[in-house]
Amino acid sequence: MDTSNSLVIETQNLSKAYKGVQALGDFNLKLSPGILGLLGPNGAGKSTLMRMLATITKPTQGTILWNGRDVIKDPEVLRSVLGYLPQDFGVYPNLSAQEFLEYMAAIKGMRGAKARRKISDLLDMVNLREAARRPLGGYSGGMRQRVGIAQALLNDPQLLIVDEPTVGLDPEERVRFRNLLSDLSGERIVILSTHIVSDVESTATDIAIIYKGHLKVRARPEQLLKQMEGSVWEWMVTSQELPALKQQFLVSGTTRRMAGVELRVVSEAQPCPAAQPVTPTLEDVYLSTVAQRQGCTV
């Protein structure tokens, strides 16, 4: 039975304070199947939000509803269908990947034969079949990350929360993971938090930008890009001019060319006569949003 259409997670006036510091305030968000790309500067509240959604931390105020049921009061309604990959997770170094995944499958409540089948599939999927019997302590950072991805997918989660999942992966593995997320997103809710805007660009069906614990932007990527049209400019400058221009404008990129430096700037008005409008990217959108919140002019 396809239950994906009924999947909804919703936060209502969610707030969290740590020893007087407001990490998240009055946060409202409603998600249905698809991938939400969660963007925000360091310390914006992304991990706090994800920890609360993952039932690790209780909010100071507000509620989280999973298909209409209160997760704060009864976290078990969500935990059995939840997959979570924290940013800085660890493993037991003396267990093999196979043993670690068997352990995680057991505590997720999966039965023997089903768990073994799933583990086997996931080891193939994350390309760890050959290393599956080796102790995790000898794995590289990327290999550990793949074990983390596998454990998050063990119980075929309806809600998948991944925090910086592509950190440490090589370009090939990163593309594989992006494709996997896209494949998964049709029938479940995926929350992807990352600083790598290109990961969001290639996978997210929705984007949320958090700043200082508040939701500032929530829209589809194409909407955001459309809003930025005519606000991104490029032109050639000399290396000597660059420092002053960086102080003057919101620079979203520089590229060395034979003729000098190609400067990419986010600005509502044309910065100089030589500047030509170019197609905006999500990175421009993100920088523009965060810069405005920091009181910079764009």
Partner: protein, 555 residues
């Protein structure tokens, strides 16, 4: 959810994780050595007879299965009762340290189930040690050849007394770990005192029983050896968890049967070359369900404590407990502060990137590192900790000299335990070793700076002791004070560097402190008397630390 399956996998993964370490092999070696000491007659309990008017005689049993099994259990219960706790107490902390805990927190596994799984894992580790001791005991019965091997008589003390006590310790370790402030130095110290209290209570209880029996004229009765009347009807009786009072009456009766004219009234621990003993034949306990169930009640009490601790266990919620996370980014408690409006992200001008920003470091690099080490040792202490330290120092200055020397100064030598515990292992604990060890002169600059910072902080925290000794012209004790100020942080640094953790120092120091400065045992009290021995030891330990740190840096 299949609870048994979850419990099995929780315990199994944890058990494998611990037993596949190099350190576990060392533990096994130590336990086997303990077993050899017990079984070759170097360490066991003996019985004592005699009073003020007669010759004191010592008795031991024939080296049969019952005697060797019982002695192995009693001796190991005393020693493992202390060390087993420190061996297994890392199970929840490890889940926090490795970050596995935050993944577990998102699964349907319940707090109580998680804690019981950890308890089973702790118990399994200790069970391995007990089983090795049992096997060693069986080998020793065969080697001694004084009696035929009787597996029932040999193993019943383990099954009835050793295992439940290990189950209780395994549970206490879990309970201590559910309370964040009991995971560190304070927990190690508290458990040591709990162990001392238990040992004293057991011995006092036994002595009291002996006095009561003597006063009633009953003494040890031969009947206790064989009286099995109504065994099947017996209700479980809760005796001491170490099991001394389970065996006491039967052992006394066994000795009384062999030597009816002797008044056997107490037990003592033999450690070292054995003197002359009177030997009696002890066939072992008449094990009844009441005795066995009574001892296993301690395991049930342990389980009860675990279930109780599930109430306050924070389940890896970083907002409810001070989780130490060595990897990755800092806690999000800083959220909302990190991107202050004044700090413009994209347009920020590059600050000065000179690596020698501190004026002090520019003038003298060693002093720069020293001040940084001092800051790290002192930062983060709570106000009440400072208040207690200041209070003890003020009390030393204002109290009569005998009270200061007997109580306050020994107390002051324990207070900085948490600070010393960080020495030598901070880099591994906080996962900064790659950064620190790749900086300039980690062995010749950073390590000596860390050591000197420890010495200075130690001197500061017990400064009143020096003032008191100086004002009273007590130069020998002042010399002892200087020796201790140098020796303790050096010991902490050495054990921190060698073990890459704080637990070994905590255990060694607390035991040493209890025997030495508190009990004033000659030769072991490093705070008084001739400091030259400890200064020499400190020099050796410092060289050892430098050598070992050098190895760590090269790796």
């Amino acid at each position: 959810m299949n609870t048994m399956r979850v419990l099995f996998h929780l315990a199994l993964a944890d058990f494998f994780e611990r037993t596949r370490r190099y350190r576990f092999l060392l533990t096994l070696a130590a336990v086997i050595y303990l077993g050899v000491l017990v079984n070759n007659g170097t360490a066991f309990f003996y019985l004592i007879s005699g009073d003020l008017n007669s010759l004191v005689l010592r008795f031991r049993g024939v080296f049969n299965s019952a005697w060797i099994g019982t002695m192995t259990v009693l001796v190991t219960n005393v020693f493992l009762g202390l060390f087993a706790f420190y061996l297994v107490i890392d199970c929840i902390e490890r889940d926090i340290r490795t970050g596995v805990g935050q993944i577990i927190a998102t699964t349907p596994v319940r707090r109580a189930i998680y804690l019981i799984g950890k308890w089973i894992s702790n118990f399994a580790v200790l069970l391995v040690l007990e089983l090795i001791l049992a096997a060693a005991a069986a080998v020793m019965v065969l080697l001694k050849g004084e009696a035929a091997l009787d597996l029932g008589a040999l193993l019943m003390p383990f099954l009835a007394v050793g295992f439940p006590f290990m189950a209780l310790i395994a549970a206490l370790a879990v309970v201590f770990e559910t309370v964040p402030w009991l995971r560190g130095a304070l927990g190690s110290t508290l458990y040591f005192f709990l162990w001392i209290f238990l040992l004293m209570a057991v011995l006092t209880w036994g002595a009291l029983l002996a006095v009561v029996n003597d006063s009633m004229g009953t003494g040890a009765s031969v009947n206790a050896l064989s009286d099995n009347t109504g065994a099947m009807m017996e209700l479980p009786t809760l005796k001491d968890p170490m099991g001394f009072n389970v065996f006491r009456e039967s052992l006394f009766a066994g000795a009384a049967a062999g030597y009816p004219n002797e008044r056997i009234h107490s037990m003592g621990l033999q450690a070292g070359p054995a003197p002359q003993f009177m030997v009696f034949d002890w066939p072992g306990m008449n094990w009844t369900p009441g005795i066995v169930c009574g001892q296993w009640l301690w395991a049930a009490i342990g389980l009860g404590l675990i279930l109780l601790s599930a109430v306050w266990f924070a389940r890896f919620d970083p907002s409810r407990e001070g989780l130490r996370r060595p990897r990755g980014k800092p806690e999000e408690a800083k959220e909302g502060e990190a991107t202050a409006p004044g700090k413009k992200g994209p347009r920020i001008a590059l600050p000065s990137l000179s690596p020698l920003f501190s004026r002090l470091a520019q003038v003298n690099p060693f002093m720069g590192v020293l001040f940084a080490e001092l800051r790290m040792l002192l930062n983060g202490r709570r106000w009440w900790w400072w208040a207690i330290t200041a209070g003890v120092n003020i009390a030393m200055l204002t109290s009569p000299i005998d009270i200061t020397k007997t109580y306050l100064i020994p107390c002051a030598w324990l207070l900085p335990l948490a600070i010393w515990s960080e020495m030598g292992n901070r880099e591994q604990k906080n996962n900064t070793s790659q950064m620190v060890f790749s900086s300039a002169r980690p062995v010749l600059r950073q390590l000596p700076a860390a050591w000197l910072a420890g010495v200075l902080v130690t001197a500061l925290f017990v400064i009143a002791g020096a003032v008191v000794f100086l004002s009273n012209g007590d130069l020998p004790d002042l010399a002892g004070w200087v020796g201790a100020v140098i020796f303790i942080p050096t010991l902490a640094l050495a054990l921190g560097v060698l073990s890459s953790g704080s637990r070994v120092f905590q255990v060694v120091y607390v035991i040493w402190w209890y025997i030495g400065p508190l009990q004033k045992t000659p030769g072991l009290d490093f705070t008084t008397g001739a400091p030259q021995v400890y200064l020499l030891a400190a020099a050796g330990l410092l060289l050892l630390s430098a050598y070992w740190r050098g190895r760590q840096v090269r790796v």
